[in-house]
Symmetry: C2
Subunit: 235 residues, 2 copies
Amino acid sequence: MVHAETSTGVLQPLESIAAEAQNAGALMVVDAVTSLGGVELQVDTLGLDVVYSGSQKCLSCPPGLAPITVSERAAKVIGDRRSPVQSWYLDLSMIQRYWTQERFYHHTAPINMIYGLHEALRIISEEGLESCWQRHLANSEAFCAGLHAIGLHTLVSPANRLPSLISVKVPDGIDEAAVRRTLLTEFNIEIGGGLGELKGRIWRFGLMGHGSRERNVLLLLVALEKALQKHGWTS
Amino acid sequence: MVHAETSTGVLQPLESIAAEAQNAGALMVVDAVTSLGGVELQVDTLGLDVVYSGSQKCLSCPPGLAPITVSERAAKVIGDRRSPVQSWYLDLSMIQRYWTQERFYHHTAPINMIYGLHEALRIISEEGLESCWQRHLANSEAFCAGLHAIGLHTLVSPANRLPSLISVKVPDGIDEAAVRRTLLTEFNIEIGGGLGELKGRIWRFGLMGHGSRERNVLLLLVALEKALQKHGWTS
């Protein structure tokens, strides 16, 4: 399952689903691309078997790496496979042999990216992982409070709202693409539009990693209000 | 086929094989990992259909990218496929849609790597691609002349010798791993050992990209002679 659902801004309830997976003896694979570093994620406590993420979201590192963790249970399943893995690139059994003492060659590692990730993790470690989660939550709540104050509404209720990406309903009669263009050209702020069924109906605001900070929240609210007014909005 | 064969140090004759492929109406796929930028490679003149390389060899860029080129003929074959591509990562039909005007999302591009590659290509462009090939060839020939002068022999005859990686026969009675260790610990020079059938029988010297220069050739010859003498070699 996807932990942090970026197309809707929903933070999925890992705990209950992980417990069901455990009960059923199933392996649990979690996409934590937009949650790792920005949202509480208890890999071992919840018994998550495979969790992968990206470097370029809440870790604030350049894109190009996908950190991954594999439980002993999942490693055993991979090791016991009879059929060959169809993808060389994501053949975890070969990557496992590269990772261990054996150093069985699999690929030339993108070393500069790894130095970058190391530095990004060092910065998070310096702030403290829990503080990092708290910061994401506090800035998200401040942003949502500001949105409500100017008369806008979030798509997701607070209980399931993702702190690192907030989806906001486009008010009736507003050209959502025009608002995004104004934010980009006049304020150098790029936000996302809706996808699929939500196309044209929501905006998606990322407040993740280094970007999740008070000054950005304040600027974002002012810029958004001005852009909306420019395009005919009266709250 | 592999253009620059790094396990043996052979430069494969592309021309004749490409011509045969054309005659047979076959697509020609070339691994140019250790040749691009260091050895003449005429993609369009030879009608090569798919050529891929790495950023970290003769281009002297950090590892993490694989430049690829696809001929119109190969692009048509990919576009006409009926069966789905099994690998998301190397699904060129999706990457093609990402590359074109459509900008169909496929992956988050590793932008810092792309900046790095751009700079590496700029440096090559400044030197001139043909000059770059010439430099690789001249330094390789100088190194081989030096090897012969101290009584060592290359594995590959000059006609098929790869300029960016030179394989050298280990003299009888010499502990090849000990020589490599001495080069690494005393001179900070890392060379490769033989692989497969050539394990223990050859050394592999990389002279590629930024590393292919006169001062390295001179240092390498002196260091190699000293390391050999230390381990009991008398030429």
